[in-house]
């Protein structure tokens, strides 16, 4: 099993009346709710948390891209990943990922990911989401019905830019470049392992299967609801005659660990409530612009799964129900271990992206929960896929002789 410590970087100061006073945490959230000086402290607190996860022994630390979003403060995850290359040395660094259709020209992604792979010594996990409608269409103005087409073209350009050893001309529908010549090139050849975060489009499943990319289902509504979608993906894998390596799949899950089940509720409940009630408060009109999902995807029929969990419903859910329905995995190390085993087996995933920082959870609780998981849960789950223990296709292979970063003398010493 591979364990990725995943950060969304939420804004923790949304007011108590946020839901009643604002229609959406995303796209048209009032910028007056953001305070740059608090933001300064927050970025560094969140970077500290990611670095702590590296020290705890998580296999990877990961970040993602959102725009105009009150629960995701990383319009450019590459900046955060670049900072992480300097103060971490062991864990893989996941950027899950860059929305390819939003980069003009998308060769920028080939270049920046190559830089990150080189800076980190080959530790990059490269994510290529098609992108949410909120980010892609409403914030960045891409035409819904053409988004996937543009994404696929950008993908072809990036992969070719990494693979080709000579400059080439690219005559695309959305990108015309006379001289494509990615410089620098990534350490991992021909390219870093690729993760495609998705929300259940059949086209994305097939795209992952055809290209042997990891399909990462990143909903935050829990594994019981996620099962139908991952089942759909595994069916496509089987149909294509591909092997069933669990590392082809990843799943994101909110996890809260405490000494006892009761303690978990006491410590984490307010922050889980903040996450579901404020962070996931997205205006329905931004969630599914006509043309974004294909007719084929709409017709697959799993409409219940596509329906967002309404924040209203969640607000009324008691803690026990959040746990029973798998929205969160929370409790003592033994409880969390049992639920995680259930998740990993049922979804058949070799990668889990774990959200320990939830909503407005303060740093000391994040560290407490992460440490309990790393020490008392993770070791027991390590060998859940013994048949695939040698399968390294979906994990970075860093260079062995990586540079030790120089320790600078403190200013006092220099003086």
């Amino acid at each position: 099993m591979k364990f990725t410590w995943f950060h969304l970087m939420p804004w923790p100061n949304l007011p108590d009346d946020f839901r009643s006073s604002n229609r959406s945490v995303w796209v048209d959230i009032p910028s007056s709710l953001y305070d740059p000086e608090q933001g300064h402290h927050l970025y560094h607190e969140y970077l500290d948390q990611l670095e702590y996860a590296d020290a705890l022994g998580f296999d990877a630390i990961a970040v993602n891209e959102h725009h105009q979003n009150g629960y995701g403060l990383m319009p450019s995850p590459n900046l955060i990943a670049a900072a992480l290359t300097r103060r971490t040395s062991r864990a893989a660094i996941g950027v899950i990922g860059n929305s390819l259709a939003l980069y003009n020209p998308p060769i920028r992604v080939a270049e920046e990911f190559a830089m990150l792979d080189v800076m980190s010594g080959g530790r990059l996990m490269a994510g290529f989401p098609v992108g949410t409608p909120m980010d892609t269409n409403f914030c960045y103005g891409q035409i819904p019905a053409l988004t996937r087409d543009k994404y696929l073209e950008a993908h072809d350009l990036v992969i070719r830019a990494w693979r080709e050893t000579e400059p080439f001309a690219f005559d695309g529908k959305y990108n015309q470049l006379r001289w494509v010549n990615c410089w620098p090139k990534p350490i991992q050849q021909p390219h870093p392992p690729i993760f495609i975060p998705g929300g259940g489009s059949v086209e994305t499943w097939d795209f992952c299967v055809e290209n042997d990319y990891n399909y990462s289902y990143l909903s935050f509504t829990g594994y019981l609801r996620g099962k139908a979608l991952l089942d759909g993906y595994w069916e496509r894998v089987a149909k294509a005659g591909k092997d069933e390596s669990p590392y082809r799949g990843a799943f994101a899950q909110v996890v809260c660990v405490a000494d006892t089940d009761e303690e978990a509720e006491r410590l984490y409940r307010p922050h889980v409530d903040y996450f579901f009630n404020r962070c996931l408060h997205v205006h329905t009109g931004f969630a599914d612009p006509p043309g974004y999902r294909t007719v084929a995807t709409i017709k697959t029929g799993a409409l219940n799964q596509y329906k967002p969990l309404t924040p209203d419903a969640l607000g009324e859910l008691p803690w026990g129900q959040l746990i029973d329905e798998g929205n969160i995995i929370a409790g003592s190390p033994a409880t969390v271990r049992e639920r995680m085993e259930d998740l990993i087996r049922n979804l058949h995933v070799g990668h889990v992206f774990l959200l320990f920082q939830v909503g407005n959870m303060p740093g000391e609780l994040v560290r407490h929960s992460s440490k309990l998981f790393a020490e008392q849960v993770m070791p027991h789950l390590r060998s859940m896929w013994p048949d695939w223990s040698d399968d390294q296709r979906w994990f970075p292979q860093p260079m062995s002789d990586r540079r030790e970063l120089e320790k600078q003398p403190s200013q006092a010493m220099v003086a």
Binding site: G141, A145, G285, P290, Y292, R293, I298, G301
Partner: protein
């Protein structure tokens, strides 16, 4: 005179369903982003005087081939492809909302291939001081107030399309498919801002032009009528009191009277 539904295939390969009735000078009616509403008595009335042809855009109704249309030029040429496929000689072009945007684009593309141009609260221009509501993020219940002077009129028109019971999964799925096709197609020329730089090309517009607007249009507000007048000085602009964006549906008699007065 009742409208007959027929189908024609364009040279590009789009299969186009259209309504037709009447004889005389051809009058092509191009519907807006919401589609061609089933209650359209104005078409029959006009068919008493002209050969009225009302095609569905690809992506709407039984018209297919929307994947072949990607940008504004594709839509304008598709309009002319329909004219060619039906063998129409110098038709009058009449477009409503998005259809008006495309009709104007057709008219600047081939200024001498049409007779007269009627633009009914057309999209296609943008004024920063009057941003057009984002129809792609609207909730269905927000639509009626934007579409007609009396929202109840729009409510009846929208409900007329289907009995919408969203608790029925099959109905929901069907609605999502229709919506995805229709507005997904419209988004190629309307998203995120319904402005494909038509204003740069309007100097080419040679045909006698009529611009019609509802005084209560809350989707594309009447300030845009003044903008069209400024951009197309030879246009005659007429406004309708107590009328919203769906002029032909909301005030069919006044609409037909104005149009026939202009077309002759």
């Amino acid at each position: 005179m009742s409208m007959q539904q027929r189908t024609v295939t364009t040279k590009r390969g789009c299969e186009v369903a259209y309504l037709e009735a009447g004889s005389g000078q051809p009058l092509l009616f191009l519907h807006g982003a919401g589609g061609l509403f089933p209650q359209n008595p104005f078409l029959e009335t006009l068919a008493g005087r002209y050969r009225v042809i009302a095609p569905w855009w690809p992506g709407y109704g039984e018209s297919r081939g929307e994947e072949l249309l990607e940008d504004m030029l594709d839509f304008a040429l598709h309009g002319w492809d329909v004219v060619d496929a039906l063998g129409l000689e110098r038709p009058h072009l009449m477009g409503h909302s998005m259809g008006g945007m495309i009709a104007a684009e057709m008219a600047v593309t081939a200024p001498h291939d049409l007779d007269r141009l009627v633009l009914v609260c057309p999209a296609g221009l943008w004024l920063d001081e009057h941003p057009i509501p984002d129809i792609f993020s609207l909730m269905p219940y927000e639509l009626p107030a934007l579409l007609t002077h009396d929202p109840a009129v729009a409510m009846r028109l929208l409900a007329g399309a289907a009995e919408l019971d969203f608790n029925n999964m099959e109905v929901l799925k069907q609605f999502l498919v229709v919506n995805a096709r229709q507005l997904g197609t419209a988004g190629k020329i309307l998203f995120p801002i319904p402005n494909r730089r038509l204003s740069k090309r309007l100097y080419r517009l040679a045909a006698p032009t009529q611009v019609l607007w509802g005084e209560s249009d809350r989707l594309i507000v009447p300030a845009y009528a003044a903008r069209w007048q400024a951009m197309v000085p030879h246009a005659s602009v007429q406004r309708f009191a107590d009328c919203g964006h769906l002029v032909p549906y909301e005030q069919p008699e006044a609409f037909v009277a104005a149009v026939t007065d202009f077309l002759g």
